[in-house]
Assembly symmetry: C2
Homo-oligomer: 197 residues x 2
Amino acid sequence: MGNDGSGAPAYEALTQSVRRLIDATIRTEAGAGTVVAAKTHIDCAIEQLSESLMPGSFGVRNPFDGQPVTSGNVMIGARNPVAPPLVIHRDAGGAVWTEITLGAAYEGPPGHVHGGVCALVLDHVLGATAHEPGRPAYTGTLTLRYVRGTPLGLVRAEAWVERVEGVKTFAKGQITDSQGLTVGAEGVFIKPRGARD
Amino acid sequence: MGNDGSGAPAYEALTQSVRRLIDATIRTEAGAGTVVAAKTHIDCAIEQLSESLMPGSFGVRNPFDGQPVTSGNVMIGARNPVAPPLVIHRDAGGAVWTEITLGAAYEGPPGHVHGGVCALVLDHVLGATAHEPGRPAYTGTLTLRYVRGTPLGLVRAEAWVERVEGVKTFAKGQITDSQGLTVGAEGVFIKPRGARD
């Protein structure tokens, strides 16, 4: 099915199952016999899926079948089980936001999102607001300010462009939970020469 | 087995299989029938592992069986399939380093590590050098400077303490590949009141 794109829904359903499996793998307290039996199923699945593997990562394959190049992305990829995935909403002014539930797979301090996962989410949303369609930019610097720990659960991440100076786009963003701000961020994004106005 | 700790090797072997499964899920080009069959195996494994699940994330469970509280950590957890996992080496002076292969699961730009994953790895290693044993600290700020894209593959991350001023520990770090520096980082870590000298 890799040749006509019709398999994308099957791939995405597979990915959603693997996300649930990641959570169950971390949280299971099943006995050794059960764990070994589960591993046998997983090893069978790996063997089946490996009958045909692209040689490298998803983004560098030849996009012959309509599956977006971002399907393998660690934050938004519909085929990457590590991705929550983020669904990026964009308002008319170019600001972006997303709401996601971060569970056991993203833990750092007990019961809390790893501070580096907050950085990863913020890097992505700041990039999403700075990378306007047809005007790509790359991250120059990113600064995170940790106000308090972010409990696992539902969080909102948002970002917006503060100002543009020549090739530099200055973006800001934040993560909030039901109690307010947990992490703030500022980033400077650079338009490569080919993409300058 | 959750009650005597003897199951840790089975849990870790399971986790290693799930890491391979994540990679195969992203990279498979198998046909729809095969993908559906693999998903059936995975759903069976989820059902088996879910016969006994801890109520929350790994870090908040009652550590009754000797499994370290960090086993669920997204960067170093032996039971977290999202973790590469990082193995943190510490030299006599307190500097830390790790070498890891970051594959398809960590992709951002095609063929490259997501910039936010670089931030996540650096947050972790800077924290590891700042959090001395018995002297916990929390991240105040973290600044990343992106020098060039980090290709997927083997990378080295390292961090060291630059200086300590009162409750503040200033740490620096970097990610390098075979061609040199890709991302630099600076962080300020704060010792909470109870942990001050």
